[in-house]
Symmetry: C2
Subunit: 308 residues, 2 copies
Amino acid sequence: MLSVRSDRIVRWIGDDCAVLRASGYAAVSTDVMVDGTHFRLGQAAPADIGHRALAAALSDLAAMGAAPAYALLALALPPWALEGADEMLEAYAEAAQQYGIEIIGGDFSRAEKLTISVTAIGRIVTRPLLRSGARPGDRVYLSRPIGGSGAGFALLGKDAAAYEHREFVESAIRRHVDPEPEVALGLALAQISEVTSCIDVSDGLSTDLHHLCDASQCGAEIEKERIPVFSELPAYGRRLGIDVASVVLHGGEEYALLFTSSISESQLSARLGRPVYAIGRITKERGVLLKEDGVARPLEPRGFDHFE
Amino acid sequence: MLSVRSDRIVRWIGDDCAVLRASGYAAVSTDVMVDGTHFRLGQAAPADIGHRALAAALSDLAAMGAAPAYALLALALPPWALEGADEMLEAYAEAAQQYGIEIIGGDFSRAEKLTISVTAIGRIVTRPLLRSGARPGDRVYLSRPIGGSGAGFALLGKDAAAYEHREFVESAIRRHVDPEPEVALGLALAQISEVTSCIDVSDGLSTDLHHLCDASQCGAEIEKERIPVFSELPAYGRRLGIDVASVVLHGGEEYALLFTSSISESQLSARLGRPVYAIGRITKERGVLLKEDGVARPLEPRGFDHFE
């Protein structure tokens, strides 16, 4: 009576619910993206929008050290965008294959503005990476250079060809519209017992580091010159009218991982087989400090706040 | 290291994902509701809107015979609606308690129009009730009288006091804005092996019966006079300017269950300890027929289509 598609999915799109055979621990996250807030429908290809909404949900799984398994989509869209919806769904199918995730359900509705909600379900393979495990003395790490997404957002909708640094402009915009969640890294970090906490940089480094410290009931001191910065941003950013310090410290939707560990940068990079970047230390004293030219000042959480 | 809230939830709102301990079969469904399409923010209380979005997701679980377990909410809303959001979240907390569901995660975003996505996760206790199990000869059942939600929608925003049949008008509007998902019935139906298929009436009787027949690769013939109709709708409907046949046959968001079984109405009602209503039979020939005054005519799926 049941149609079994794989050993875990019993019934998917086309019934009232998807039915899954579940065992062990599962991680579940939901993300919503709205035209005019997270993207502008006229400025981005439907495929990019689709991919980006899924990437945000997959990044939550990555930050938890979970392996992507299933996703559900809820699309609310204007009738004139129906054609683009096909492209979007194709992008989902592609991204699903890329990350080994199955789209098991969804819902469609008419709306004035495109709104995409993605619910992602992952399997905890070893242990969940929580925000709350950081301990004083741990090093604070970033998984990759940041600032590209914020720079890309600032340059979005502008004609790359008009710029002197066309290659840089295009790569920054690509980083913004087609972000890569750190799925493989999240899984690898969960297997290293000396990794004590993790979050993804979705609201901005300053805000997400505050989130991590609040959850871990500690503080942090990071060094500005140790923060890895996206490609040629320091060289070209100012000339392009971008506030470099601001997009690096507060720019959201980076989807890099921000995590803590008791072991050194060289040890951790060696064990992971890829570079990761130590940017500071966890402190017993609450609050987040940014050290620049030998002086430490409070780093306020000035990342993305939807209702500022 | 893990904070365990109950024996099944390890970590919920406040980390990147909720982490659940899972076993057995799970049913997962996602529903989206949009201001201007499913409700009008000015005409409905935020608490009702919140309750209604959750009810739609719970109804999907009910149609699957699943026990509600967890829900995730994604709210996209205009800044001026933030105050109403508190009321909405309170309504969720209440509904969650009523149906034994835990809200384990969510996301907030700024938007021009309120959009609510609910993902509900349920446990399959005995077996999943699918749309695809109906067999020729089975009786077609409705769980309760329908037409009230469609009538309520038609009367929405009008001043009940101005009407002669004020009590009826108020009860129809209540049915529309505060629908009750048939959670207990869905669980009971899954335990009766002679119940062969099930769907909830969310798009309208005509459309949902077509869905069920398509999934089961069969047809159906139902009798108009056997369809149970909401309270005084036949008596008052026309006087209030409502197309009674249309709201009964095609009105959506009823959240009654539409199901099939090989056993009789009296047997089934006795085993369930509550009335259910046989309205016709499953046929081998494809297509849905409506019999009225001895004549059977095709019943087209004219229920809710967002992109008609």
